[in-house]
């Protein structure tokens, strides 16, 4: 049964290599044939895990760690793999509308897209399964190598520039991660996650390693203030690629950060470092949500929303710290963070697809000229709206469950300030959605550019399905996989209090959107201008690079002195 872990990697890799060598105009067949197999394997692993008493373990080549490399599937890996498989299937269905070679010969865009999609999938599965820090490094590189070309498939200068910035910054992150890996090996003589967990002590070598690795991973995940590459890359890519990048790729390095903090070195970071992480996350939520209000293009707004959501998934670090034992605990905060990650993955994939369909039907995606979209592309507009709702978190959604868990953790650990950030974030999320809805409801200014083909049904269905998936994630019986508190299982999905908890952020969001949102030629508030200046500064390479080193230094200082 544990050989399934190997097959979950071998199938997409094999598919990608076969597609590469056979080529031709039917490259997508290989991907489409691989998808159901991969999905079935992911589900089978989750099923096997629910019956097993501990994580599934596979020793590659029969060599046991520390010399060999192990694959491990625990509950984190299992849910991430299943959600990844689902999202990839949805994205592939969507991409059938955009990435089929029109000519009888092999064409560049489909060839690259389908092979890279499979490669990216195998890289993610490897991230979720790997039990070895260096294998994780290789997995992260696989991820970057398959993600970067997706950014610039259309070959425009601005996307090429975005891809180059992404590649260079991600490489910088990888190298920092790699130094840490080496230092940890020097300290313990192993790279295996379980063996390291048993060996690591808080000493200078390990603390320096931990802070460098974390900073590198944050750079790859684009947590505030290390996000210079993300908006342009995610907003400029073709819609299917944006969906993959935003929904899945950033989760890869996030997952490695979780592995590192919760599984490799739970006792190393100490309280101050967790507060630093959550402070960055809180800054990301507030700053990026406010900036989303200031965008004039829909895809950029969605990209900034991704930045804010990355903040949400990192907020759990302080909440998961147990003061008594001085360790990171795998409790409701961690479950809340992961739940947020998978809900965002499904919702954001659908949202980028919807934004792509809106672009396709209008010929542009300027927010101020969205008027009439509800008539031009009703299903796309509805999908966008539902995806936005899924991010706010109605009572049946995964986000609602995540928020409840995080709020509970904040309550249990007495850290009310992070709970406050969560609520503010909800208000701001509502605000930028309201901004879009307000523009969309306006009457049509001019007729849509003619010559745009109707959006394929399959695309509409794929996007809507993913969004609906996110909306019902809260209803899934998670008990066999997640260490959920018992009381969570029967939370009343339609209680009045639950509904109110969703409604009040929307009500406050209206004035916020009115005050801070970009509306026509009206002179913006001075705060908004300051924010835009700060954003421009942080997206400059030297600032971002210096911030990266500064984050590493701050984390190291917090780990040294804050314990």
């Amino acid at each position: 049964m544990t050989s399934l872990l190997v097959w979950s990697l071998a199938v997409p890799i094999g598919g990608a290599l076969l597609a590469f060598v056979v080529g031709g105009r039917r490259v997508h067949w290989f991907a489409l044939a691989t998808l159901p197999i991969g999905l079935a394997i992911a589900i089978a692993i989750a099923a096997a895990l629910s019956r097993s008493s501990g994580p599934l373990l596979y020793l590659i080549g029969g060599w046991s760690p520390p010399l060999g490399v192990a694959l491990r599937a625990d509950w984190l890996s299992a849910i991430m793999m299943v959600i990844t498989a689902v999202v990839i299937c949805g994205i592939a269905a969507f991409a059938c509308g955009d990435f089929i070679s029109p000519r009888p010969a092999e064409a560049r865009r489909p060839f690259a897209f389908w092979i890279l999609l499979l490669a990216l999938w195998s890289a993610l599965n490897l991230v979720f399964l790997s039990g070895d820090l260096f294998t994780l490094y290789v997995a992260l590189e696989l991820l970057v190598f398959s993600a970067v070309p997706l950014v610039c498939l259309d070959g425009r200068a601005e996307t090429l520039r975005a891809a180059l910035r992404y590649l260079l910054f991600a490489l910088l992150g990888s190298v920092l991660y790699l130094v840490g890996t080496g230092l940890l090996y020097g300290a313990c003589g192993t790279l295996d996650i379980d063996l390291l967990a048993a060996c690591l002590r808080p000493e200078p070598v390990t603390l320096v390693a931990a802070s460098l690795m974390t900073a590198g991973l944050l750079a790859k995940t684009a947590l505030f203030p290390l996000y210079l590459w993300l908006p342009a890359a995610h907003a400029g890519a073709p819609p299917a690629a944006s969906a993959v990048l935003s929904a899945l790729v950033v989760k890869g390095s996030f997952f490695v950060a979780v592995r590192l903090w919760f599984f490799v070195m739970p006792a190393l970071p100490g309280e101050a470092a967790t507060q630093v992480m959550s402070a960055l996350a809180a800054a990301a939520i507030v700053f990026a949500s406010l900036l989303a209000l200031r965008q004039d293009r829909l895809k950029l707004l969605v990209a900034y929303s991704t930045l804010a959501q990355i903040g949400y998934i990192f907020l759990m670090f302080a909440l998961a710290f147990d003061e008594g034992s001085g360790r990171m605990v795998q409790g409701s905060a961690l479950v809340g963070g992961m739940m947020q990650a998978i809900s965002h993955a499904t919702a954001k994939a659908g949202m980028f697809m919807a934004a792509g369909m809106i672009y396709a039907s209008l010929g542009h995606d300027r927010i101020s000229e969205l008027g009439g979209i509800a008539r031009a592309a009703p299903l796309a507009a509805l999908t966008f709206l539902l995806a936005g709702l899924a991010l706010i978190g109605p009572p049946s959604s995964g986000v609602y469950l995540a928020k409840t868990l995080l709020l509970r953790a904040a309550d249990n650990t007495g850290q009310w300030w992070w709970a406050g950030v969560l609520q503010v974030g909800g208000v701001l999320t509502s605000a930028y959605l309201i901004l879009v809805v307000a523009h969309a409801l306006a009457p049509m200014r001019r007729a849509p550019t003619p010559g745009h083909a109707a959006i394929p049904r399959l695309q509409q269905a794929a996007a809507l399905a993913l969004v609906l998936c996110s909306l019902v994630l809260g209803l899934v019986p998670w008990q066999p996989w997640l260490p959920l508190p018992v009381a969570m299982s029967g939370h009343g999905p339609l209680g009045l209090a639950a509904l109110w908890s969703m409604l009040w952020p929307i009500l406050i969001g209206v004035p916020v959107a009115y005050l801070l949102g970009r509306r026509g030629n009206r002179r913006p508030w001075r705060v908004a201008l300051w924010l835009e200046d700060a954003d421009r500064l942080l997206r400059q390479w030297p600032t971002a690079g210096a911030s990266l080193v500064a984050v590493a230094v701050a984390l190291a200082a917090a780990m040294f002195f804050g314990r």
Partner: protein, 314 residues
């Protein structure tokens, strides 16, 4: 201080000096030349660290092939440098950056001085199964047996890099001959070298692969040497690079990872697990894998150096 120590210190200063020169140089071309020299000096440092396999890899790939790639890039990008001069940072941001980098380097230096000697090691565990595998070179054993999985994945990374580079072509040029448009064939010393050297290079490369099981060497180093021969032939324009749609090229590019993956999966049936080698046949299986890895490295590196197709397919 013994003479060896003095030489070590001299070498360290030389490496740092050339690295500093590379960073500080005014023109990109000068910096790249500095980097090639730096790579060769670094190979000497690796020899001093008793890492001959790494020294070979660094000289061949880190300095050699990377050097060719960067030199041609620097020449083609010369026109872009003047425009970017005004983007240079002022003195204050430079000082901030320097201070931050100094903190990082100082922390790492402190960690280095703090390291226990002898430190943690897997050398005894890595050494013990060597006889059973029929290998004499422990590094080869790590690469092809204990951590074979990483090596296989890294071959996939190479294929992905080729796809990424090719994807930077245009729709119209897809399927054309790889690499930039070339001038007509030249005669002269380079063409002479390109005719004379490859047979010799191929023999040496095969030798390096073959002895890799027991002595420093192996698939990476041999493959890099083969790819250098291919690059000389391409640079002398004795041959055109193949079209990217050619089947043999694609087969060569993926042969390493595919053979590796296939043998790994065969392990399920024959040796009781993924990437497990059948008892008593480990050595031939490993050599078999190494041959195909060499082939795919030799095909991949030139493709990465010459870049995406720049001409319409004929």
């Amino acid at each position: 201080m013994t003479i060896i120590e003095a030489l070590d210190i001299g070498l360290a200063f030389l490496v740092l000096g050339v690295a500093g020169w590379t960073i500080a140089a005014h023109e990109a071309f000068t910096a790249v030349i500095g980097y090639v020299v730096y790579g060769l000096l670094l190979a000497l440092v690796w020899v001093r660290l008793f890492a001959l396999d790494v020294a070979l890899t660094e000289a061949a790939i880190g300095s050699g092939v990377t050097g060719v790639l960067l030199i041609s890039a620097a020449v083609r990008l010369r026109a872009s440098e003047a425009e970017m001069m005004h983007e240079r940072l002022g003195i204050a941001p430079r000082l901030v950056a320097a201070a931050l980098c100094l903190v990082a380097a100082a922390a790492l230096a402190a960690v280095v001085l703090d390291m226990p000697d002898p430190g943690a090691t897997l050398a005894p565990q890595a050494r013990q199964p060597l006889a059973e595998l029929g290998l004499g070179n422990a590094i080869t054993a790590v690469l092809i047996a204990y951590r074979a999985f990483d090596t296989m994945l890294e071959k996939v990374v190479l294929v992905l890099a080729v796809i990424g580079v090719w994807s930077l072509s245009t729709d119209a040029n897809w399927g054309g001959l790889a690499g930039p448009t070339r001038l007509e064939r030249t005669e002269g010393p380079l063409a002479f070298l390109a005719q004379l050297l490859p047979p010799l290079g191929i023999i040496v490369a095969l030798h390096i692969v073959w002895v890799g099981a027991n002595e420093p060497g192996g698939a990476f180093q041999g493959g890099a040497l083969l790819s250098a021969m291919a690059l000389i032939v391409l640079m002398a324009r004795l041959r055109e690079a193949p079209a990217i749609g050619r089947r043999w090229l694609r087969v060569a590019l993926i042969s390493g990872p595919v053979v590796f993956l296939a043998i790994g999966l065969l392990g399920f049936a024959l040796a009781g697990g993924f990437l497990a080698y059948p008892l008593g046949f480990a050595k031939p299986v490993i050599v078999f894998i190494e041959v195909f890895m060499t082939l795919s490295v030799a095909a991949t590196l030139p493709m990465l150096v010459i870049g995406p197709p720049d001409r319409r397919p004929s």
